[in-house]
Every structure is written in structure tokens, then in C-alpha cells.
Symmetry: C2
Subunit: 199 residues, 2 copies
Amino acid sequence: MPRGRPQKFDEEQVLDTAAAMFRRDGYDAVSVADLCRETGLAMQSLYHRFGDKAGVYREALERFGRTANDPQIAALESSDDPLAAVEAFVRLWKRHAGASRDDGCLFTQAMSRGDRSDPEGPDVIARAFTGRVRKALNTTLRRAVAEGQLRPDCDTSAIADTLLTLAFGVAVIGRGGMPASMIDHAVAAGLDRLQQARA
Amino acid sequence: MPRGRPQKFDEEQVLDTAAAMFRRDGYDAVSVADLCRETGLAMQSLYHRFGDKAGVYREALERFGRTANDPQIAALESSDDPLAAVEAFVRLWKRHAGASRDDGCLFTQAMSRGDRSDPEGPDVIARAFTGRVRKALNTTLRRAVAEGQLRPDCDTSAIADTLLTLAFGVAVIGRGGMPASMIDHAVAAGLDRLQQARA
DNA sequence: TGATTTTTAGAGTTTTCGCTCTAAAATTTA
DNA sequence: TAAATTTTAGAGCGAAAACTCTAAAAATCA
């Protein structure tokens, strides 16, 4: 049993706050003082628990890659109507693109790589994140095939990758404040791809 | 007529070098000393011409938005076989994604917004860049319609936006070192979309 | 109670960075 | 030649940042 005063703060909450800050402003623009102010931790607590600023970044990123977009994945995997779930996922892009600065937007933080001592870190996280969504899409599409919603001979992994690529593209477009019609066209293209594979 | 010793260095070359540095490492991670070393300019020359670091960034970004991907746009607009030109554009993604860290990769720098005094700057550039490619794609597709390669009733702007969204997505995927099969699937989806509209 | 550990507050250290200043040499036009 | 301007070199300044250190209070368990 551990002795001594127990840790008071919620690590996950601290990491989520930190991830949001890094994602919004970039690694270099977030100072340790900023982190302390927004998380409520005293500086010593932060250094005691995370070692240094790069440690906070590393753990925040790791958690982000492990948990981001969990609601969407859960929605895909738990739905009784797999095809409708995938369609809902595609339609969700439009909402996300509007508020993309704050919500589930991977590349923003993956690009703002700070910590030059571990240049591969963000990519590893990006792959983890992508892998999770990709897998969920793929299994959901296969369920749609099994339930007779999609043609048995359709290439579910090709469809999943196409949708995921479009999703990344929409995130970029939304982030840059580009015309909404571009997003509409991309969403329509995603839905079209599903229609093509319909049984 | 201007008097005095003329400027020796090539501004465009300096800006291209600076843009590459900002794109690779991000605004904050590039110091003025770095800029001087890699461009060959003495510090005073840099401050004399550009005012400050943000000025270098601003002008480099502006030039990037104005000239990036010029070769691809020229290839689209000058081709005698518009459909083949668009197909070549799509196939080019694969090459770009492999070397995406250095070449024509917009979002990397658009995300590494430094200069908090002008937070909209990168977005303006991103829109300019996107607008140019988008327009070139659209006009080339309409030429394909005019020449009877694509069906007269096809929605060229929808196709252009879909291809552009896929292109952004491929850039993200390539940048993160994700599986090559994802890129292959995205390229195939782009070519498929063109096949659908074939006359 | 005593040992252990976390918590907080704040001052201090070292480094880096953006930028300025000084000052002189080089290259142009009038 | 004279005026104007760019060029280079290097020292230095003020601010901010990451991180450390001191020191003491609080909360747990044996």
C-alpha cells in the first residue's frame, strides 16, 4: 500500500486540458505557466508527476491517440443498423468541420509537434488514432455486408479507407475556413460511395 | 531612379527557403539566427528588408499561396487531353505522399501558425492556394466535358471538390506515415469517380 | 505519533530569442 | 566626388521560458 498524501488532481482531466491547449496553440506557444494556470496544478506538482513539459505533451498525446473519437467509434460498433451508422458518421463531418478548431481534430496537434527530441511521437499517435477509426469502419462495413445491406463482393477496406481519407480532407478544409460547398460535395461523395456498394 | 547600393540577394529564393523552414519545423522552432544561416543573409539585411520575423513569415506564406503547385496547375491547364491530365493529377498523389514532408504540402505550414498577431493569415493563404487548384481542376474537367470525354450532365464542381478533398486527405495520411494501402485506395477512389462520369 | 509523500508558494538560475545598436565597408546614381 | 543605400560583423539588451531550489503545510498509513 502506498503511503503519504494521495494525489488530488485528476490525471485524465489534466491531460485532456493539456491536449486541448497543445492542439489549439501548438507546443511552443503553450508555456508551463499556461499549463499550470489552466489545469490548476502548481508548478511543482506538474514537474513531480510528469518530469518536464515534454512529458506532459507526450502523455497528453498518448491519451489523445488512445481515446479521441471514442463516441463515434462506439456509435459505429454498437449500432443495430450498420449502414445507417456509417452514413451518420459521414454526415457528422459537416458538424465537425464547422467546429473543427476544438473537436477531435487530429492533424492540428500532430502537426504542431514540439519536442524535437521525439519527432516520430506525433506520427505514432496519429497512426494509433487512425488505426482505431479505420478498424471500426471496416468491421461495421463488414457487418453491413453480413446483414445484406451491402453487396457481398464489395471491398469494405477500400470503402473504409476512402471514407477515412475524405474525412481527413474535410477536416483540413473545415479548418482552413474554405467554402462550405466543398464539404457538402465531399459528404455527398462519401454517401455515394456507400450507395454504389448497396445490395 | 533609386540611388545607393542595390540589393544583392534574391528575394524569392530567400522566401522559398524560409517557407520550407517554417513548413518543416513550425514558426516558433525557426529562429532568426536559423533564417540567417540558411538563407545566407546577415541579420541586418533581414531586418532591413522584412522588418521582423513575422514579416518574413508573412511574405513567405504569401508567396507560397501564390506559387505553390504551379507546375501541377500548368500541367492541367495546358494539356491537350484534359481527362488524362486530371487522371495524372490524381496519380501524382502517390508520389507526393511519399515525399510529403518537403513538397507542396500545404497544411503543414498552415497549421504551424506562428505570429499570433495575425491568426487568420495562414487560413487566407490556404484559401488562396486551394482556390487556384480548385479552379484549375474545374476548368479542366469542363474542357473534358466539352471534348466529349465526360458526360455533359456531370457535376464538374462536385468532382473537383471530391478530388481536392481526397488530395488533402492523402496528404494527411502520407504525412503521418500511415499504410500505403490507404493511399492506394484513395487514388483508386479518385480515378473511379472520374470513370463514373465518363461519356 | 512518526514516516512518507503530495501539495503549494515563490524566488532564483540559466538559456534562448527577438531585436537593437554601433560602426564601418561596398556599391550604386547624381 | 558626394550622397544614398545596402552590406557585414559583432556586441548587447530586455523579456520570456524552462526548470530548480527552498521551505513549509497537508494528508495519508503504520
